[in-house]
Symmetry: C2
Subunit: 245 residues, 2 copies
């Protein structure tokens, strides 16, 4: 059993996984969001598994370093806090957490130097109550009560996504490639259009002109124009006037 990892991340523990392809797909799902520690408990078709390797593709190193265990007790022996991902286990007295709350706790625990594991059951049956009893808390993904069809890799994906999201490294909004036009640039553009439209007799009748001009000024401000947009609009207007003149 060897494991790799940059910084403390939760171990993903696949309990009695059946299809090699699903183990490989789980590795890919993990690596998308920076999780790279996998543990396998009694995989049905033995280990290593060529089908897992083929599916993992660029995430193969996760499989190379995966820990292999005969039983769940062994896989969890060095873990301080264990989550069980399941839609069941509600008859056990144990906290049932949303993925976001669970990964928030996982972040806090790993930051405090604790070893965290998140376990997932076999594809068809999921975790048994005997497995779940070893967990400190249950994670249940808030799916549509009338339709549940998450496969193993998808469940791993959602937890890995939440892990990364809780890391607080996610930029929520960037305006790509943008140099927002300054207020004075927008004002000059508004002036340019207002003058041209005035000459063209756009603001008619006279009594409504102030209101029309205000609406137009407001529009230019609202559009969140970039400096390039402003230059483009100046150019368009100049060209229109030239063509007409």
């Amino acid at each position: 059993m060897t494991e790799t990892g940059e910084g403390p991340v939760p171990a993903i523990v696949l309990v009695r996984p059946q299809m090699g392809e699903n183990i490989g797909a789980a590795a890919r799902a993990m690596l998308n969001f920076g999780l790279d520690r996998m543990r396998l408990v009694a995989p049905r078709d033995g280990w290593p598994n060529p089908k897992a390797t083929a599916m993992a593709s660029g995430a193969g190193r996760i499989l190379d370093h995966a820990g292999l265990f005969d039983d769940l007790a062994g896989a969890l022996a060095d873990c301080d806090y264990v989550f069980a991902t399941t839609a069941r286990g509600r008859e056990l007295a144990k906290p049932v957490l949303s993925p976001e709350r669970a990964m928030e706790q996982a972040r806090a625990l790993t930051a405090a130097g604790k070893k965290v594991a998140v376990m997932f059951g076999p594809e068809r049956a999921g975790l048994e109550n005997e497995d779940i009893a070893r967990a400190n808390a249950i994670i249940t993904v808030p799916v549509n009560p009338e339709f549940y069809s998450l496969n193993l890799a998808q469940s791993v994906l959602l937890l890995a996504y939440e892990w990364r999201r809780q890391g607080g490294e996610v930029a929520h909004e960037v305006l790509a490639n943008t140099d927002h036009a300054s207020a004075v640039e927008v004002e000059k553009l508004a002036d340019h259009f207002e003058t041209a439209l005035d000459r063209a007799g756009f603001f008619f009748p006279e009594t409504k002109a102030p209101g029309m001009k205000l609406v137009l000024r407001n529009m230019w401000s609202r559009l969140a124009l970039t400096t390039s947009d402003v230059q483009r609009l100046h150019g368009m207007l100049r060209q229109l006037l030239r063509d007409r003149g």
Copy 2:
């Protein structure tokens, strides 16, 4: 083109999808989190597609009601706000949002009566810049910069998950099947053990007894025992005493 839907939810627009299986898998991903409006733009293998139907399984009604369009303009014609899911498009001056920020906005927009669409590109190539230019904003999933392998259904899944998460209907923590023991129950349990341990000569030497008792009281409180736990522990202690006596 017909669509179904309970309450306003974003339409998921698959632009030039290639494999029928992926269309079906996207439908399943959607329905897990309550999204049921799908639109298809020029699916490569025509429509309807038996492979999509086979894969969709219980989510087949999404396909039955999916809107079919020749081009993207038609698919987006009645939409007020359009998100493009892509890792590209950064050369276009357009806001790039995290899934959570985007679905937060989508919730606000639909609540205000606006029609929202989220578009996804073909499996291999993703959305073209010509497609992205039709969007109001870009959604980029915050994947590991060194490893990106989300497939179409997984991308749809993450956005659908965020949509549901932003709905605020998710219970973050429930203690299943639990009747927390009351303070008085815990106190009586502590009394029971303290008395028994005192008789057994556990609190020795005398000078350390108060401190040892305090530590024990604190432990019982910290354990978050249920009423059943308390009854069980009383029973265990009684049995131990009986057996010894």
